[in-house]
Amino acid sequence: MRRRDGAGCVVATLLAAAAFSFERPAHALDLGSEDSMASVEVHAFASQGFILSKDNNYLSADTTHGSFQFSELGVNLTKKLTDRFRVGLQLFAQDLGPTGNYNVRADWFYLDYRFTNWLGVRAGRVKIPFGLYNESVDIDSARAAVLLPQSIYPEEDRNYLLAQTGGEVYGFANLRKAGGLDYSLYGGTIFVDTTQPAGSTEQITSFNVPYVAGGRLLWETPLDGLRVGGSVQALRLDASILAGATAPSSPTTPATVSVQIPVKLWVASAEYTAGDLVLSAEYSRWYVSDETSNSAIFPSTPAITSERAYAMATYRAAPWLQPCVYYSVMFPDTTQRDGRQNVQHDVSTTLRFDLNSFWLLKLEGHYMFGTAGVDPSLNGGLPLASLAPAWGVLLVKTTAYF
């Protein structure tokens, strides 16, 4: 378990403040009246979690002994410049195992102009509309589960899936008796910080995403509470790798290899809301291949198709209690389904307690079968086939927000 640093103390302080402010209703912090030019709407959240896993480390190192490396902080400001024009910014810091380390980053920022109900445009770094919940992956207060189904919303792919820098066109079309269509199209790039894997003899000299593009269409059907839809996304990762650069005794001259990795994803989604009950299910396939300039040094691999799906139910039993259950499954390669390393089944149960209107506590248990969702680097570099096939995870998380 790592000692908390300064940002960890901020998390603890904010959570303590929430604990001692039971009766105060939760509101945005409004700086100035709504109609004044000085008006800025401010919201924030702070989360601290605990992960304990059995047999395999998950999301963070040493979770088999318990880890508090599961913290999130966010603060956002939204300013309405005119009735149709808004700007916003969210700063976000996270610590989740090897990722985040409390580095503050702009989670999103945008300029948003809404021409009509059916046409609006956004520019900046904007959340990627993919599936039902991608935009709220890091928003603990917006859902019951601690971890969204990892088959479709994997924490380790957050850098590639959460937000893109570019533009988005969106709108809502009222189809009257046929319901309504919520749609968005986007295009831009993704900026990713790369780190050199320890002990690697290959050095990444450049890494960029020349494009990411996609769209989502959600149909609010005439059946009250039912929405269905689909999302697609395409991106390409380009990297230049200096092979043999850090091997002091390498007999060969270092050589630069260009690697292109095109990725395509789609997901089909359905969600039904009836009063306090929400049922949702999604099915997805992701296609990944790579092309290299020197297959002798960096061999091309055949295209891989992964298959992902989940079904989830949440029910608000009382204003302070919301249970959630889901089953999630992922096959990283549809041509190889046998063996623990080629599948990840995940059965999850959560209890969410709303202690007051701006403070919540969640308890969550996972029964896992398979190791395809496990990061080998968190497990001593052992092959996935040698890790325990049946294992479990317990998560406790508390979040303060306003």
């Binding site: 209703p25 945005a28 709504e34 919201h43 959240f45 966010g74 956002n76 939204t78 009735d83 149709r84 916003g88 969210q90 999103w108 920022f109 945008y110 809404r114 009509t116 109900n117 904007v126 959340k127 935009e135 709220s136 890091d138 928003i139 207060s141 917006a142 859902r143 809502f172 009222n174 319901g179 309504g180 919520d182 609010e220 509470g225 359905a270 039904y272 809301t273 009836a274 009063g275 306090d276 009950l277 929400v278 049922l279 299910a281 099915y283 298959e307 992902r308 799906a309 079904a311 139910a313 608000r316 204003p319 919301q322 089953y327 499954v329 992922m330 096959f331 389904r337 709303d354 209107s357």
Partner: protein, 153 residues
């Protein structure tokens, strides 16, 4: 079992659960709540009635302008208001807590912010009166001042 088979199986189970739950959920909804609340608009808003679905789109800010292009300014009562609970259950087909979750998603994903909330009927009336395109709801017996009451179909 492949992911596709698992997905179909789970969706089938969910569909059965849905059929089992749906009638009771409907039965718990209040009957037409003409007496529970009144929907009011700014006198300049050129509508006489609204269907429930459109009202839901307005208060979830899926639509942000009236058919004549005027910007919509919705106003809510406070979350602990019984009128808010009745309106939310009846019009938005969900609980106040679920609506709060919806706005948490919108706020922290940078999509939008919720309508302003007011503790009393008279505050809502005042807000709607002073905002062209304004719309709100108040308890059935409230004085609506210069606002106009619209029918909910």
């Amino acid at each position: 079992m492949s992911a596709r088979a698992a997905f179909v199986l789970l969706f089938t189970v969910a569909a059965f659960a849905l059929m089992a739950v749906c009638p009771s959920a409907r039965a718990q909804r209040p009957a037409a709540t003409g007496a529970a609340y009144l929907v009011i608009v700014h006198p300049g808003v050129g509508i006489q009635s609204l269907d429930r679905k459109s009202l839901e789109d307005v208060f979830l800010k899926r639509i942000t302008s009236w058919s004549d292009g005027q910007i919509i300014h919705p106003a809510d009562l406070a979350p602990d208001s019984p009128v808010r609970r009745a309106f939310t259950r009846d019009v938005l087909n969900r609980s106040v807590e679920a609506v709060k979750g919806y706005w948490q998603q919108r706020i922290f994903s940078g999509r939008d912010v919720p309508p302003p909330e007011f503790p009393h009927d008279e505050d809502v009336v005042q807000y709607v009166e002073h905002h062209e395109g304004g719309i709100g709801y108040v308890s059935g017996g409230a004085h609506v001042g210069g606002c106009r009451v619209v029918a909910v179909q």
